[in-house]
């Protein structure tokens, strides 16, 4: 019995010394990770935990005053605009996939085929990404001026069309805001697709040409399968990003007309900054987070099923 204990102790001793050896060996690596980990804790984890905590409290500024249980959640869910704002956010997401989901891939395929002036076309595609989001929103707001002197209306006027109401048309507001978002964001995503497309083994193209494959068949059978994993990941990131949209509606329409473009995160912004109700704002943020988790799980399930087929 005694010997068993001493064996086990010596095993633990060996294990501990191996661990400390491993740590010593990798100490540089661990230390290299440290600044990133500290930033992650301060700027991501800490605000998230505070947000979750505050969502269960009655607040005074950022101070939790009294435990409120689920009252903040009840208050925001029973708000007469809540369902509308969730639906608007879903609508933003839907239109972002329709308008901006495949545009970067198409642009990447076109850039991949360019032989001359590659740098120019790549820069041109990426250029809108350099412009700050708020500037893009204001620029498009000016383009969408609804009177006859508005930039787009003047162009359509020359063709005998319009004038159009653009952002003031409640049914068009969200798709049009999505156009501006797609314009501002497609360049960065296109470059990621382009990097992936350029890693396609050229022997596949050569084999396809020998087999007499057309341009479209090469895209369908070589390029699309090659980027499909990336496409899924980027679409998921787009869904998660667009569902949280608030800067563009805030700058372009203020959420109007009659809340037609108010997103769920714009509601959270209004609770926090227009009304200074941080508890309710945190509750809206939490609900948005839960919805996004739901989207992600659903998405992974659907794509996994598809992959297994």
């Amino acid at each position: 019995m005694k010997s068993d204990v001493s064996i086990s102790k010596s095993r633990i001793g060996i294990h501990n010394s191996m661990m400390s050896d491993k740590i010593k060996r990798n100490i540089t690596g661990w230390l290299m990770l440290l600044p990133g980990c500290i930033c992650f804790l301060i700027f991501v984890i800490q605000p998230m935990i505070v947000g979750i905590y505050l969502s269960f409290f009655e607040t005074k500024g950022f101070e939790a005053v009294r435990f409120a249980g689920l009252q903040n959640y009840k208050d925001v869910i029973t708000d007469s605009l809540f369902i509308k704002t969730v639906w608007n956010s879903v609508s933003y997401t839907f239109w972002s996939i329709v308008i901006g989901g495949f545009t970067p891939l198409i642009v990447a395929m076109m850039l991949n085929e360019v032989v001359r002036g590659k740098a120019f076309f790549r820069f041109s595609a990426y250029f809108p990404c350099i412009i700050p989001g708020i500037v893009t929103a204001i620029m498009w707001k000016i383009l969408f001026q609804p009177d006859a002197n508005g930039f787009l209306n003047m162009i359509f006027g020359k063709l005998g069309l319009g004038p159009f109401q653009w952002l003031q048309n409640a049914t068009m507001t969200i798709p049009l805001i999505n156009v501006t978002m797609a314009w501002a964001g497609f360049g960065g995503t296109a470059l990621i697709y382009l990097a992936s497309l350029q890693s396609v083994d050229h022997s596949l193209y050569e084999a396809a040409e020998i087999d007499g494959a057309s341009f479209w068949r090469k895209i369908w059978h070589i390029q699309l399968p090659h980027v499909s994993g990336l496409l899924k990941m980027l679409l998921l990131m787009q869904i998660m990003g667009v569902f949280k949209v608030f800067q563009q509606p805030l700058a372009m329409t203020g959420g109007g007309p009659n809340n037609a473009s108010t997103s769920i995160m714009l509601t959270a912004y209004n609770y926090a900054f227009s009304y200074m109700q941080v508890g309710r704002s945190s509750a809206v943020g939490m609900i948005a987070g839960i919805i996004l988790c739901g989207f992600s799980i659903l998405y992974f399930r659907v794509t996994r099923k598809k992959d297994s087929v």
Binding site: T28, L31, M32, L34, P35, I38, C39, I42, K60, G61, F62, E63, D75, T78, D79, S80, L81, Q145, P146, D147, A148, P163, Q165, L167, Q168, N169, A170, T253, G254, G256, P257, N258, N259, Y269, N270, A272, F273, S274, Y275, M276, V278
Partner: protein, 461 residues
Amino acid sequence: MKMKIVKSIALVLVMSMCTCLISACGTSKKEGDDSKVSVKIGYWPQKDVSPDNYKLYEGYLAAMNEKYPEIEIIPDHYEYAADTFLPAAASGQIPNMFRVPFTEVSKIVKAGYAADISEKFKEFGFDTALKDSVLDLVTVDGKYYGVPYNAYIVGMIYNVKLFEEAGLVDEEGKPIYPTNFEELRQTAITIKEKTGKAGFTFPTNSGWMLMSMAWSFGVDFMEQIDGKWTATFDSPEMINLMQYISDLKWKDNVLPENILLAVKDVQQLFATDQVACTYAPTDWANGMISAYGMSKDNISNSPVPAGPAGAYTQIGGDIWMVSPDTTSEQMDAIFKWLDIRGNGLKLDDSAIERQKERYKTQYEKNEAITNMDFSIFKEAERVEQIKKAKEEYLNVDEKRWNTVYSDNLILRAEEPVDAQQLYQVISSIVQEILTNQNADIPALVKQANSNFQRDFLDKNN
């Protein structure tokens, strides 16, 4: 050996990064001289952005240092913005004295980011010297939370060029002002017919500006019954107001095409001769002159038109508030600073000189200086002192710069509870009416009234 050196350098770099990160999270060393009472004063102009104002503030600072050497004023450039205030206040970054628009006072107090200054407020005599309507702006639950810097009331503002083009001027060249809502409508129609420009507009993203109009139509927004607040604007008066606005758009076509208008959009339209008249607080004119280069001679004003319930106007202003961590000594220093700035009750000779300096700066920038400002003080002597200080710098045509104040005008402060939320509800109805010709106005008003009750009055009070 070489590898070891590289590793050591990398380690030193990583450690210094960590140290920087951790030290950045700490609080900074307290500024100022320990033997003095130090106060941070916000809204301090930046030298590069506003050199004239910066020079004025340097003058205030020199006078303060001379009169109160035991006080150290620390300039702080913080300017209130709704989206930066909350995090700045929560992290203790707001100065001891900061300036906010009056609409923000009650929510800042509710959030716990303003000090109760009642004691000093009374000690320095503001409670008896200010007009009651102005005191309402800084009073929450019977306590004082701020010192008014200026006050304004909502009036009408006219673009003289468009009025002249439409022939709506009298023999002296003064615009013919509408005195009631039917006249306002007819004026707007004439402007549209004669100039092709919008006759009238108002900010549709800010329900605040509609309040004067609504009260004049006789709308009561809320009342307290047995301690419970009840929304009361599902009424024929509110429906009449909304019908009036709808008719301006769909029958008369006198509003601009763009109906999603914030305050800045309306100012831009007005200053660039795209719209002939609008509701405007008295402080708008100089804002448009400096932002859009509008000539002061192209501006005229009058009191708001009267509606079926009378001519109501909303009072507003900018307020100096004090951060909650301010000590009694610092608060005393703040009130002394206000005296030096010329915001106090008594103006000594040097304070009058500094006021003159301010008017001179405005005069040089070609801003409008009138003797028709709304005074926040009751005391006739102080009002006269200011009038006298302005005298040599007055630069507007008094025929056109009619006072926006009249004896028939009824002054009101904003609604007592959930005013910001009410503005949002009202602007939603207005936007629906202006984008949907077939909007069912009574149903919209009924729905808005019930939503305001359920979403805000029931939950917040």
